[in-house]
Subunit: 343 residues, 2 copies
DNA sequence: TTGTATGCGTTATCAG
DNA sequence: CTGATAACGCATACAA
């Protein structure tokens, strides 16, 4: 039905040639075209509702103004999917299209996705991971600009949450609120393996440093690698049995959720009897009462920043080796109601 | 670096012409090419790692083998983002690319997204909504195949959860487990407005019909349009004060979450003292203990089905007016531990 | 059976 | 200042 409007159409209408029209519409520097001509061309283009055919342009220029986003399982994840939105927003702001694919952690699907995108001339790729860990990428993207979000791949620039700083901030917040006797749930040796997590080590290390800086050490610690509510149930039970602390730091919100359950079962009030400070800011954290004070994983910002970095790289304004191999994004402290001020 | 391999390259290597190579690789019907030739062409193509340039092909054929997915705020949503995965999976299975954009409910961004995709020659569009409601679409997509997921737009085919059946199933399940004295939380007149929700009316209607079929009516009802935990807190308090029911149907999981909170506070056991049956199957439903038995919103399937329908429509194998205006997708009952068998 | 010529809509080069 | 002309990589009608 709606036949496409092409350069030829507007050339015919104005009497100028297609190349002149093209020059006007792209206002190429160097060749100055009389304002009268330009004016007329622009008017007709506007009137006809001309929009350049990006695939034809891409074929000619070799640049598609499209980027690819490949993730392992970000869309299926509760909160990490915000990184998609961040990328989409940034891309739209630059009038770029976003091609998307998800691999579900299958190497074959990953190679598929890369090939599919390459044959479509994308200008660059963002690789996003659900959990920040070190992974490998196949060779198929030689020469293509690549940015990793929430993960680490050898040889590529990564955008990551600033977990160390967050650990520091968390402890400082507790200390500033008068807490001295603090417990921690969630330490586990397995998390130190970069293939398991590239960032949890930093989170813990920030927490440890924060404690040391304040001249404190944990009154009680519950180890555990499976950061689910069950760990919170078990951990809180152990800690409450001892009963000599004022605050618990939980390694993530799901553990905190378990702690809440035990507190409620024992008739303990959060934060009056016990403060809880957590990490991640899953939706969960704002469902429970009182809402959990937690260090937010800034997925939206990370996606946005990754896309902007990629655009710079494509434009040649920035080169990964210019700067640090990682861009760290601040994890804001979301202050809610689970931490008491002991004044 | 990696120069692209083109038809010309492989033509040069084999000695045949580009058109012959093209015919072989697309094994065009009609023109039979000797197996010897075909064999050789395929071998060289394989060896060189040839992959056709989809943008060039698209320019020539007018079909891009790419589809667009435009949503309001699906990626930012806890559970609806699974529909993205469904679309991605189906697209990959058909070797189609997916272009994605999100509007955040701004009409301007919607028109932007449509234009951006049209100039990229997508073959069709899927429009996805976070909450199933009736919306309008601008005129800009004349002639383009369109499927709506989790929403309703006049004149287009929609893929929706089968809420009526789910309501029926929910009540039947309760009745089959011996429940007769049942309460309900979540009815609200405002939800009957199709612009607010296209499906909640059916959910409620299914529930009502199920009750009527069993010769039952609700012992107690708590109305409320804001389906958040607070409504569960308030509703459960009211209901528990009366204390003469065996089961509560909550209109969604967040309300159920509130009910859980009150039950725990009052020392009531779920499901021993009180059964809970819910809707949606948010992540939340599997976090609480006991895990909630709930009617799942089948987002993954809906995305997949929408994409498959779109492909059929593009291929001309199916025309929206051929069949019903809606494709209803079954909402499975996820049986967990919140409903007691009164057998 | 295979090759040649042409066009898809742009942009870039180079004359005029 | 502007307009032919070629080329991007592919598919196809037609000629050989």
């Amino acid at each position: 039905m709606n036949k496409r409007i092409t350069l030829a159409d507007i050339a015919a209408r104005t009497g100028f040639s297609a190349s002149t029209v093209s020059m006007v519409l792209n206002n190429r520097p160097g060749s100055r075209i009389p304002e009268a001509t330009a004016e007329r061309v622009r008017a007709i283009a506007e009137e006809l509702g001309y929009a350049p055919d990006r695939t034809a342009r891409g074929l000619r220029t070799g640049r598609s103004e499209a980027l690819g986003f490949i993730s392992d399982e970000v869309t299926i994840t509760r909160y990490a999917s915000a990184m998609v939105r961040g990328i989409l927003d940034a891309a739209e702001a630059c009038n770029h299209a976003v091609l998307m694919a998800e691999t579900d952690n299958h190497p074959r699907r990953l190679e598929n996705a890369i090939r599919l995108m390459r044959t479509r001339h994308i200008d660059g790729i963002i690789v996003g991971l659900m959990r920040a860990r070190q992974v490998d990428l196949p060779a198929g993207l030689g020469g293509l600009p690549v940015i990793i979000v929430n993960g680490k791949v050898d040889g590529y620039h990564a955008v990551l949450p600033d977990e160390y700083q967050a650990g520091l901030d968390a402890v400082n917040y507790l200390v500033a609120h008068g807490h001295r006797r603090i417990a921690f749930i969630g330490r586990a040796a397995v998390h130190l393996d970069p293939r398991v997590s590239w960032t949890i080590g930093r989170r813990i290390s920030g927490i440890d440093t924060g404690m040391a800086n304040a001249g404190l050490s944990f009154v009680h610690e519950v180890e555990g690698s499976d950061w689910e509510p069950e760990l919170g149930y078990r951990g809180a039970a152990e800690i409450f049995d001892r009963g000599d602390i004022t605050a618990i730091i939980t390694a993530n919100d799901r553990i905190a959720f378990g702690v809440y359950g035990v507190a409620q079962a024992r008739g303990l009030s959060i934060p009056d009897d016990m403060s809880v400070l957590s990490f991640d800011d899953e939706q969960l954290a704002s469902y429970v009462r009182p809402q959990v004070t937690t260090m937010r994983l800034p997925y939206l910002d990370m996606g946005q920043i990754a896309a902007e970095l990629l655009f710079k790289q494509i434009a040649g304004e920035w080169c990964p080796t210019d700067s640090a191999e990682e861009t760290l994004v601040r994890m804001p402290l979301v202050e809610r109601s689970s931490v008491a001020d002991l004044g």
